[in-house]
């Protein structure tokens, strides 16, 4: 029975690790400026914890294989040195790994979430609502109109509750359900929730941030690869949570300007 356990455990460990190593399922290619740092941090953690995982599983399997009771009356033997090598191994090995991961990791995190946005970044207002994202560009006057929750009316496409009649800055705001951004230019999103918690997650951009009702949360990144990617919601927001998809289209600057002009015409 001990040998069976050891064999099954070894097979499980080998297969699981192989799928990780062979990257059968893996992160999509990164397209953001800060992405490589996150990928590096993930790889470092993957390697160190993978080694820890394989060693401990195989140690367990080996000991179970060797020390089955064969009723030959041999004496039990304590682990050489008692518990101290265990504590030492844990503190030194895991402690060192934690130190390394924290030092590098905190810089990566700080780079994304703790540094102020680039001053000339393109600001786009994002509103998440029960079950769609809407994006608002300031339009030629460069200023966003005021938001009036009581005027919000989805039937008339007034998602942000703008009041164009009295608020001149709101007249030229462009409201679209697709996020178009110029490639290579820093983008600053201001996330606001209309009703409940939502989240903004683009796997390729390696960026994720919750929307919290009552707060306006800044999020900045820079896309480096043109293409069309999916924005999904990762914070449970109700029955349509699975279908809150929007697209982020990264395009060269001229194409972006043209896109903006077309959308402005439709407003």
């Amino acid at each position: 029975m001990g040998k069976l356990f050891a064999v099954v455990l070894t097979i499980i460990t080998v297969v699981s690790t192989a799928i990780f190593v062979l990257r059968v399922w893996w992160l999509p290619a990164d397209i953001s400026a800060h992405g490589p740092q996150i990928d590096h941090q993930l790889m470092e953690t993957m390697v160190s914890s993978g080694v820890l995982f394989v060693l401990s599983q195989l140690a367990l399997a080996l000991f179970v294989w060797k020390y089955a009771d064969r009723r030959d009356g041999r004496k039990v033997r304590e682990f050489p040195g008692g518990a101290t090598p265990m504590v030492a191994a844990a503190v030194v090995l895991v402690g060192a790994e934690i130190l390394a991961l924290t030092l590098v990791g905190s810089k990566v995190w700080a780079g994304i979430y703790q540094t102020p946005p680039d001053p000339n970044s393109l600001q786009i207002d994002v509103q998440a609502e029960q079950f769609a994202f809407y994006f608002r560009y300031p339009g030629p006057d460069g200023r966003f109109g005021a938001i009036h929750p009581e005027l919000m009316n989805e039937a008339t496409e007034n998602f942000f509750g703008l009041d164009p009649a009295r608020d001149t800055t709101a007249r030229d705001d462009i409201v679209v359900p697709t996020l178009a951004i110029p490639v290579g230019r820093p983008i600053l999103l201001t996330l606001r929730a209309k009703d409940v918690n939502h989240a903004f997650y683009v796997p390729e951009l390696r960026i994720q941030q919750d929307f919290v009702p009552g707060l306006v949360i800044p999020l900045h990144f820079t896309a480096t690869q043109p293409g069309k990617y999916e924005i999904v919601c990762t914070q449970l927001c109700g029955l349509g949570h699975y279908n809150m998809r929007a697209y982020v289209e990264v395009m060269p600057q001229p194409q972006f300007d043209q896109w903006l002009k077309d959308k402005a015409a439709q407003q």
Binding site: F5, V76, I98, E154, R206, Q209, H241
Partner: protein
């Protein structure tokens, strides 16, 4: 703490007479322990059926499930689960499993039954309070289950019930009306029950230990229940007011968690100034200690059972207890790692990631101590032993994935994906369950005086051990591919190619679930017709094995034991049968 003289055996309550007093409204901690375990059994069966329905829907969304439209005409018309019904199933699955299985069985169930016996007491410190806490837990469970049968169906805001989705009321969608109110009432009741239970556990451990049972000589399972009771005391004392504030927000129109200007279902909500993050802070201050409440009894049970089947003392008993205490303290400093991306100040994310990584050190030490105990052992492969080994292996897998999620930078990608689902299922859904299985197979002879069938037990182990790896390891791969959790359907372009993996998980989950029926059958059959069990079938040393199976009404037949040895006396050269009982002269 000086050795406490055994209390004069004052029969505070004479053996019960009436049928009602003996089996239903019993003051005997053993009966209450069994009642908790039976409640947990019903709860885990319900929870497992819910997980089947969820997996069937994810793997095969358009296949109608016969009979489901009878259970819920609104939620699953024609047997096809609708998105809101899937989220209700998920919420109830999470809530039932975390509260009514993983807190009730290992802590309240086994703890109530065995803590008094292991410390040599005749019953819990306050039997009436002990009975009340069971019945309040049962009422809480019934209130929760009742939300299945109301018009709008159960709540759908997950077991975490984030405001304002949980706080606004029926405008927030189906299930958020009466269903969410019943959820909050059920959890508030559960908090009351657990606080009373913890009070009983701590008082019994501190005051009612028999002569010679110093703290150092307490078995590891007793230590684990004691520490879990302390964690539970503080954690549930925080969840309780949070639930009260949530109920006030929902019913009385206050604005603790709901900010101004929310337009939900085209209606401007009449609230202002609340903070949704306040709910998350209060919930997760309870939430993370809760996951340790679920796993620490498992640590205690494994450290209690492993020496019995390796026939050698646990490696570093003091270190083990030290680690349990260290984990208990650290568990209150890490709750922020659930909220790295929640709009909380990013500086505090770094602040919370440090203790989260530090807590992996005591967890690693505990694992290495178990593996070290197996070194040089004379392993006897009984079913409880196999479940202990399974526990160690599965806890390692679950703990390792914690490394990724503890770092904010990697959590940026992995938060809210199936990687998290794989992580907490491995640690709580499987490791804690293996702890419960090990405890059941190990203590069944003592509780019912009959042996469980070993062959069925081994079949149950092998199918479950391989099954859980097939179910939960692929979830880590889904997480790496960015598959978002809590989705009722995968219509996104980059998630559609992952559906075959979901189908594999669904099939594996059905097989693993079916394997549990072997356990259920073994339980019922052995209770009725299992072979008679001797007092000490596993040749263990702790006090529960030095009394009859099942123990008499006051545990030791009027003669409270005097303890002369620690719980770890295995492989003792020269001792009769290589072990020395704790209560031997």
């Amino acid at each position: 703490m000086p050795d406490i003289a055994a209390p004069a055996a004052v029969h505070r309550h004479a053996p019960p007479q009436g049928l009602l007093r003996r089996h239903v409204f019993s003051l005997d901690h053993k009966v209450i322990g069994k009642q908790y375990l039976d409640l947990a059994l019903v709860a885990v069966c319900t929870g497992m059926v819910l997980s089947w329905l969820m997996r069937l829907h994810l793997g095969f969304p358009t296949v109608p499930i016969p009979g489901l439209d009878k259970l819920s005409p609104n939620g699953a018309a024609g047997g096809v689960i609708t998105p809101e019904y899937y989220l209700s199933l998920m919420t109830m699955h999470g809530t039932i499993m975390v509260f009514f299985v993983l807190t009730t069985a290992p802590f309240a169930g086994f703890g109530n039954y065995f803590l008094p016996i292991q410390v040599g007491a005749e019953d819990m410190a306050f039997p009436r309070i002990n009975m009340t806490s069971f019945w309040v837990t049962l009422v809480a469970f019934l209130v929760l289950i009742a939300s299945f049968f109301i018009h709008d169906g159960p709540a759908l805001s997950g077991w975490t019930a984030y405001a304002p989705l949980s706080a606004v009321g029926k405008d927030a969608g189906p299930g958020q009306g009466l269903g969410q109110t019943l959820w909050a009432i059920s959890i508030a009741l559960f908090c009351v029950a657990q606080l009373l239970g913890s009070l009983n556990f701590i008082t019994t451990t501190l005051d009612l230990r028999t002569r010679g049972m110093s703290l150092a000589r307490m078995p590891f399972s007793t230590w684990a229940w004691f520490i879990t009771a302390v964690i539970g005391l503080i954690a549930f004392a925080v969840l309780m007011p949070a639930c009260i504030l949530l109920l006030l927000d929902r019913v009385a129109g206050t604005s603790f968690f709901i900010p101004a200007g929310l337009v939900i279902s085209d209606r401007l909500q009449p609230h202002s100034g609340g903070s949704p993050l306040l709910w998350q802070h209060l919930f997760w201050f309870f939430g993370h200690p809760e996951v340790y409440i679920a796993i620490l009894p498992g640590f205690g049970i494994i450290s209690h059972i492993l020496p019995v089947f390796t026939r050698k003392p646990l490696l570093g008993p003091r270190v083990m207890i030290g680690c349990l205490i260290a984990i208990a303290f650290l568990s209150y400093t890490v709750w922020g790692h659930h909220m790295f991306l929640s709009g909380m100040n990013p500086f505090s994310a770094t602040l919370f990631s440090v203790p989260t990584l530090i807590i992996t050190i005591p967890a690693t030490i505990v694992t290495l101590l178990w593996i070290g105990t197996i070194y040089g052992a004379r392993l006897r492969f009984t079913t409880p032993a196999l479940f202990c080994l399974g526990f160690v292996s599965v806890f390692v897998s679950g703990g390792i994935s914690g490394f990724f999620l503890a770092q904010p930078s990697i959590d940026t990608y992995l938060h809210g994906t199936y990687f998290v689902v794989g992580h907490f299922h491995f640690v709580m859904g499987v490791a804690a369950m293996f702890g419960i299985f090990a405890g059941t197979y190990f203590w069944f002879p003592k509780m019912f005086g009959r042996m469980m069938n070993e062959t069925l037990g081994k079949w149950h182990f092998w199918l479950t051990f391989i099954g859980v790896y097939c179910v939960f390891m692929p979830m880590h791969y889904l997480g790496l591919a960015g598959n978002v959790r809590r989705y009722s359907a995968f219509t996104d372009d980059y998630m559609k190619p992952l559906i075959p993996l979901h189908r594999f998980i669904t099939i594996a989950a059905l097989f693993t679930g079916a394997a549990q029926l072997i356990f259920l059958y073994n339980l019922i059959r052995s209770r009725l017709r299992g072979p008679k069990a001797p007092d000490n079938p596993w040749e263990a040393t702790t006090l529960e094995w030095s009394t009859a199976s099942p123990p008499p009404f006051d545990n030791f037949g009027g003669r409270p034991p005097t303890v002369s040895h620690g719980p770890n006396e295995y492989g003792v050269p020269g001792a009769a049968g290589d072990y020395v009982m704790q209560a031997s002269r």
